[in-house]
Amino acid sequence: MIAAAPLSLADALRAIADDPFATVIAGGTDLMVQINAGRRPVTSLVSLRNVAELKGWSTESGNLRIGAGCSYSELERPDFAAIMPALAQAARTVGSPQIRNAGTIGGNLATASPAGDTLPVLVALDAQLEIASSSATRSIAISDFLVGPKQTDLRQGELIVAISVPVLRGAQEFLKVGTRNAMVISVASVAVLADLDAQGVRIGLGTVGPTVLRGARAEAWTRSNIDWDSNRVVGNLDEFVALVRSDSHPIDDHRSTKRYRSHAIGICARRALQRVFP
């Protein structure tokens, strides 16, 4: 087997079990860049393009289940945006329209870049990942899955099948800072999602740490600094901004500086919170 295009998940899992050196390709938007540049040797390919079980999304009893093969374009569409606006907003910032047509949310997870655009939303939502191999299936929390920059807990022979997140009641915002108005890698990004039923706010922070981070201190602040009867922020937003910054651990690189990222993540989180609780 040197190139397989299985139609079912079972066939896909069998293919990668049979060939431990197979390269799994979904949208190809990260992998092919490596292959084209000669940085990734390939001896066999298993394409997930036609695997039926990875396609589409559905809602059931307060949960949204997104097939790992869903493209960013699918997540941008109004029907999806109505359910999970922050994820739709994040998807819309990924690369170009062509990239969004090809790239998948499962690929965003598997690549596990700290700048992965959908990841702050998924981290904020405590997404659960369904992972399968030819012999077993397991479920793992995203925070356990993303173990480092471009490092995941995905093991030999496993595929990400789907991502499950709770459908929340309340407004959501995703903001991303980049140095171009489109088609740009994140310098800092933030997802702020209200959870009115739980009287809390969920915050994910992108590109300000080795992995996408949860804004835990800032979230704790919102529990006592939002009036959950009127849905208004009553606390001092400067405290919130400081806590967001303390939740983040940015670095200097060629795209930006630690100092700017820290600055920007705080500003963006404040703006997001103000939009969510106007």
């Binding site: 910032t93 903001l175 991303k176 800072v177 140095t179 489109a182 600055h263 500003i267």
Partner: protein, 724 residues
């Protein structure tokens, strides 16, 4: 072309004639260098040094040659002719053999049966480097240990004009910096070489300077120039980045060595590493003025980082220095210009050619001076504009059209754009949804610039055209490289106009006709346009003398008026002609995040005469896009000599969501004496002052000093101490 059964008249000069290559280009049928193919063709690939400064201890090509499918691996030892090349000084090795002077310098080339084989072969070549400390600070280069036998100073040019000791009543001083911009043309370098039976080689090459490619290639191959037959292959943009050779010698060496056709095409990364860039520059200025705003003296020190090899650094510095004051009457000046060698990537030609860097600085200074005087910045400029009969800093008296006042007035009098419509996408941050309406502050900035047309300082950059008229069809043969600018359209318009014919064939640009010089310096409309006009007029005269001939043919060499070298004080009539331009930029800035959205750029430009309105508009909009890019995003990031962003992921150029609408307030048509049809070149001026105008608008919106372009968000946020 027919309409209603009647043959329509083809567009003449002054009309928006369609491009003859437009249809093949929209069909995807136009053959770029990258698209060429030959039977039995091999693929060439370059091994490049990963270090900016190193001694090469050893190169072992054995493991590469052992790979199946590899036909040749060549190094410096295989260069049969001259070991070095260069547009002004032959100081650049065809292959580095002992010393590596910049990251990406070629060490070896491979020819193989598949690009992937070639890539593996390149990876298999074993090079042992002994790393040395790179010289990366241009300020230290002149005094530093030479990193090349020719030394570290490409040129030190001093302009002493009038009495540079004169002091003004009001003095403003500033230091500015311009980052390294890249031409980032869309079609990466490519070429196909086919060995000939006579020991020569045929070269199809994406280029902007065909004959000098041919001459430099032949010299390095050890062949007579006529043994290298070169043809311009479809060229996907140039903007200065194809004025130097890159793969020309390599691909011909591989073809001659293997006896087979060889194609080389650069990846985007190689393209960034393989051609010269716009010089990064540090610019110190002190402007002196009277209280009424009259300029009395300008002092400046310009340090241009030329990188590892000379390329056109010397001419770039001359432009930077000659136009360092801007299009103003400046009676006294002292300009201390330096172009130096470092272990940074080599720099050379890019649209605007030295005038872009100094324009950013002199226009910032003019705004600063206006503020110090409490005077309107446009009024200050109008008070000091150059006029016909005035002398520039080199003492050269302007004899042609000098509509500086006209471009300024037209530009500032054009209506300002309306407030933003409210769509998030239109705000700074764009798709990232970072800004709400109340986070955005609008700013308006203004800048004026000028530069020379054609080559200067005594260079006779002539052009040649051959025209044949037979059976009512004119065939024009000129080696002018069509790189996208639309010369092929202009050729047809000129031939139709002069010969009064409709059918004009543009023959392939090759070396079987004389040189047309470089497609650069805004010179081809004037130089090659003039050559085509001259040849057409000769044909017309033949027709008058001999009406019944079966065909007419003439070749014309067009030379511009001679120019002089600059003397020891930087004085002299060094330039042929000049073009002037003004830009007004409107920006929206998210001050807290330091993100900028350019809303509109208005412009007025001195064009002499518009020969093709649609193409003129295309040059203006495209040139402004590159100016906007330099202002807000474009920079080769080079840290300790290492290029960090040789790709389109991190070298950002404007997208449709970044590029503003361009408002052409006016094209000033004052026919230029001596110019064919009175037309000035129009390619470069759009890039000269658009960057400065955007920078000024950002200053207006934020109060930040903006002393460096491209403006990065962190510079805006922290420099202005606007942290909330």
């Amino acid at each position: 072309m027919t309409a209603g059964g009647l043959k329509t008249r083809s567009p003449r000069l002054g009309e928006s004639a369609p491009r003859p290559d437009g249809i093949p280009k929209v069909l995807g049928e136009f053959a770029f260098g990258n698209d060429l193919w030959a039977d039995g063709m091999l693929w060439g690939k370059t091994l490049r040094a990963p270090h900016p400064s190193a001694r090469i201890v050893s190169v072992d090509i054995g493991p590469a040659l052992a790979i199946d499918g590899v036909a040749a691996v060549l190094t410096a030892a295989d260069v049969a002719g001259k070991k070095t090349y260069g547009l002004e000084t032959p100081d650049q090795p065809v292959f580095a053999s002992e010393v590596v002077r910049y990251m990406g310098e070629p060490i070896a080339v491979v020819a193989a049966d598949h690009p992937e084989t070639a890539r593996r072969a390149v990876a298999a070549i074993e090079v042992v480097y002994e790393l040395t400390t790179p010289l990366v600070d241009a300020d230290l280069a002149a005094e530093g240990t030479p990193i090349h036998p020719d030394g570290n100073v490409f040129r030190h040019l001093v302009i002493r004009h009038g009495d540079p000791t004169v002091q003004g009543e009001v003095i403003v001083e500033g230091t500015y910096e311009v980052g390294m911009q890249d031409q980032a043309f869309m079609g990466p370098e490519s070429g196909l070489a086919i060995p000939d039976d006579d020991g020569g080689v045929e070269l199809f090459i994406s280029t902007q300077f065909l004959h000098v490619d041919r001459d430099q290639t032949a010299a390095c191959l050890g062949l007579a120039p006529e043994k290298v037959r070169a043809t311009v292959a479809g060229t996907g943009g140039a903007f200065g980045g194809r004025e130097d050779i890159c793969l020309q010698v390599h691909v011909c060496m591989l073809a001659l060595h293997t006896g087979r056709p060889v194609k080389m095409l650069y990846s985007r990364e190689e393209s960034f590493l393989g051609h010269v860039h716009r010089h990064p520059a540090k610019l110190w200025y002190r402007h002196h003025a009277k209280r009424d705003g009259t300029l009395v003296n300008v002092e400046a020190k310009l340090v241009f980082d030329g990188g590892a090899y000379a390329s056109t650094s010397s001419a770039v510095l001359a432009n930077a220095s000659c136009f360092a004051g801007g299009p103003y009457l400046i009676p006294n000046a002292f300009i201390d210009g330096w172009a130096v060698r470092t272990n940074n990537p080599p720099c050379g030609a890019m649209r605007g050619f030295g005038a872009v860097q100094t324009c950013f600085a002199h226009e910032a200074q003019m705004d600063k001076l206006a503020a110090a005087l409490g005077m309107d910045a446009v009024e200050l400029r109008l008070r000091n504009v150059l006029k016909t009969g005035d002398a520039i800093l080199t003492g050269q008296v302007l004899t042609g059209a000098v509509p500086v006042e006209e471009v300024i007035r037209a530009c500032v009098e054009s209506p300002l754009p309306p407030k933003a419509t409210g769509a998030m996408l239109e705000r700074p941050g764009g798709a990232g949804r970072t800004a709400d309406a109340h986070h955005v502050r609008r700013g308006v900035g203004f800048a004026v610039g000028f530069k020379n047309l054609m080559f200067s300082e005594g260079f006779d950059d002539y052009s040649t055209a051959r025209v044949r008229l037979q059976d009512g069809v004119a065939t024009v043969h000129c080696a002018c490289a069509e790189v996208g600018q639309g010369f092929v359209t202009l050729v047809q318009q000129i031939a139709r106009e002069v010969l009064n014919v409709d059918d004009v064939i543009v023959a392939p640009a090759d070396t079987s006709v004389g040189s047309a010089g470089s497609t650069s310096a805004s010179r081809q409309t004037w130089m090659s346009g003039g050559a085509v006009e001259g040849a057409c007029r000769m044909v017309s005269e033949q027709m008058e003398r001999n009406p019944g001939a079966s065909y007419y043919e003439a070749t014309f060499e067009h030379h511009h008026a001679p120019t002089e070298q600059l003397d020891e004080n930087g004085q002299g009539n060094a330039h042929v002609s000049f073009a002037f331009v003004a830009h007004r930029a409107v920006v929206d800035v998210d001050v807290e995040l330091g993100l900028v959205k350019v809303i509109e750029v208005a412009t007025a430009q001195d064009v002499g005469r518009v020969l093709n309105p649609l193409q003129a508009l295309g040059q203006i909009e495209g040139g402004i896009a590159q100016g906007v890019g330099l202002a807000v995003m474009e920079e080769m990031l080079v840290i300790d000599g290492v290029v960090r962003n040789a790709n389109f992921t991190d070298y950002l150029i404007p997208t449709t969501l970044d590029m503003p609408n361009v408002l052409v307030a006016s094209l000033i048509e004052q026919p230029e004496p001596g110019a064919p049809f009175g037309a000035k070149g129009i390619g470069e001026p759009p890039t000269i002052s658009s960057t400065a105008a955007v920078a000024a608008a950002i200053r207006d919106a934020t109060g930040a000093p903006v002393i460096r372009v491209p403006v990065r968000p962190e510079h805006l946020v922290f420099a202005a101490d606007l942290v909330s």
